[in-house]
Amino acid sequence: MTLRLQARGLACERDDRWLFEDLDLDIRGGEIVRVEGPNGSGKTTLLKILSGQLADYHGELFWNDRPMRQARQAFLENLLYLGHAPGVKAALTPLENLAWYQALAGEAVHEAPRLAALESVGLAGFEDVPAGQLSAGQQRRVALARLELTPRPLWVLDEPFTAIDRHGVAALEERLVVHARSGGCVLVTTHHELKASEELRHVRLGRGGQDAER
């Protein structure tokens, strides 16, 4: 079982300002890596670079020891990315939203897994309500249901705790730990202080420097 996302010498410039320079990262299975830093320090940008959405950076990325250029397809098939915006269409019900994500992930569009996923995020009973009528927290939960629906080894989550209540936060934290313990890995940005655990690691951005502490 080799899960390894590596970045070497990563640097990104935005608006004539270097967000980070010469950043090295080594993310392996069984880890929860929390990227932290003040607002505007480039956390989301870093996640977008690592997940292959941004092309404007210096440095090299490697997936399972292969250059990302060659391994991109394999990387995408093992990635689940949840961005700042939940990616939930207001005019569709949670069930319909998840159906599209099921199909995009290449899985057959069966209802039972979707119902189970919605139940696991506490949205049982809301499956057929148009998502526009749900609260922000509930919409975020629809997005989080994808973690159950389409299992993937690598999770890249950008501010996943946004709008989630305390109960949901605790449950999500626990879910991340479970995922790491069963061999997956999590890369997350959040302002929320995660509970300490042996899987947790920090990467701090800001002011042109970065250090990783365990």
């Binding site: 899985e107 159950e148 626990e174």
Partner: protein, 253 residues
Amino acid sequence: MPSADTRMNGSDSKRDNGDRQVTAGEPRGGLTVAVWATLKRDLTLLMRRRSEVLNPLVFFALVITLFPIGISPDPELLATIAPGLLWVAALLAALLSLDSLFRGDYEDGSLEQLLLTPQPLPMLGLAKVAVHWLLTGLPLALMAPVLGIMLALPAGSYLILAFSLALGTASLSLIGAIGAALTVGLSRGGVLLSLLVLPLYIPVLIFGAGAVQAAIMGDGAAAHLAILGALLALSLMLAPWAIAASLRISING
């Protein structure tokens, strides 16, 4: 998420994520399912916002109404300019709804998900364009003969009018989608979209209106329709890649 505990015990074997290294060769039946799901999703979304589907049609009718008022109600005069008027108005109406092709997805975060699937993006983009044509171009084509009556369009050209528009608007959707993809990330992208796309529409306009005019003259419109078909074939081959590249650029900025 209360059932996290039970999940951990019961379904570790199913979700043995560490071992689940998916290789590219594994058959997953993915593409057809993904394309079909995207088609269905976009169709559902548009059908739930009926007014958005009707707007281009109303615009079409309104613009056609402006011309007799602005020029002259004389049926003979209108008959000579009718093919061009119908084509230009339909073209503008199709252009109108292009801006929202990708914008909704861009704003709610669905677009970045679209770019991260392992499925080929050109095909998924094609699915979205197909829905645009089905719910904009095709209705415009079907409505045009009615407006043709109002413009005293001579007999014998109505079928060609509808057919040329149906064929032509497919190309317009494809070409326009490139512009929509390039401008989706820009705040006032709508006007820029028109500026980018209208010059590229001109060949379709020439042969589309030309087909109708040929039908009126009694010459065969076959050559024009064949060229419209060729333009569509070319657009089908090239536009999906340009659309995909443009979407990736837009998500970048």
